[in-house]
Symmetry: C2
Subunit: 118 residues, 2 copies
């Protein structure tokens, strides 16, 4: 890569891993310490820490350490940002299909006086 990942890159990249999605699924139910996020995952604690830092870098999770326990919580604004990008594409696409539909309807109304076929 040439440039440092802009937000959407990091965001989707973070969501692309099943372990990280599992962590988010857990966090969607409420905050949790690192070791609880790690428990169901088939990997070592340091690996979980790395996933956690990816999630934090993407803005998807925030965490705070109190005593020796780091408590993690989901940060839903980042999720919304990803959702917005996806939704914008869908809207554009549907809008285009509408225009296509209108066009086809217009053609229909005109009858087949024009020699163009498919």
């Amino acid at each position: 890569m040439l440039n440092q990942s802009p937000p959407l890159d990091r965001l989707f990249q973070a969501l692309a891993d099943p372990a990280r999605r599992a962590m988010l699924e857990r966090l969607a139910l409420g905050p949790a310490p690192v070791s609880e996020l790690a428990r169901p995952l088939p990997m070592s604690l340091p690996s979980v820490m790395q996933h956690l830092s990816v999630l934090e870098a993407a803005g998807l999770v925030r965490s705070e350490k109190v005593g020796r326990v780091r408590t993690c919580a989901i940060a839903p604004e980042a999720l919304s940002q990803a959702e917005r990008w996806i939704n914008a594409r869908r809207i554009e696409w549907e809008h285009r299909l509408d225009r296509l539909g209108d066009y086809l309807k217009t053609m229909e109304g005109k009858g087949e006086s024009d020699g163009a076929k498919d």
Copy 2:
């Protein structure tokens, strides 16, 4: 990786690259041949082809070759699937915040007769 990429892995992975998102943004406006997708991108045609195959593997794009031209179109169902996953997390999180709010309200109503602190 433990298992072969399930749909969501491929989906978010595909969305994590700016070149691929640019291709989708173009395709959201309507179908296009490969060379048109490639034109604005700062890379060789074979690279664009590789990105295209990632998008197809993720189910985000479908393409068909007619003559020597391959025409690509967006496949919005895959986008919706990604959106659904994100939305489900947001819903869960918001639901949790509701429950928390109820709980806090209940505590408030009770007054501070209970000695439990942190």
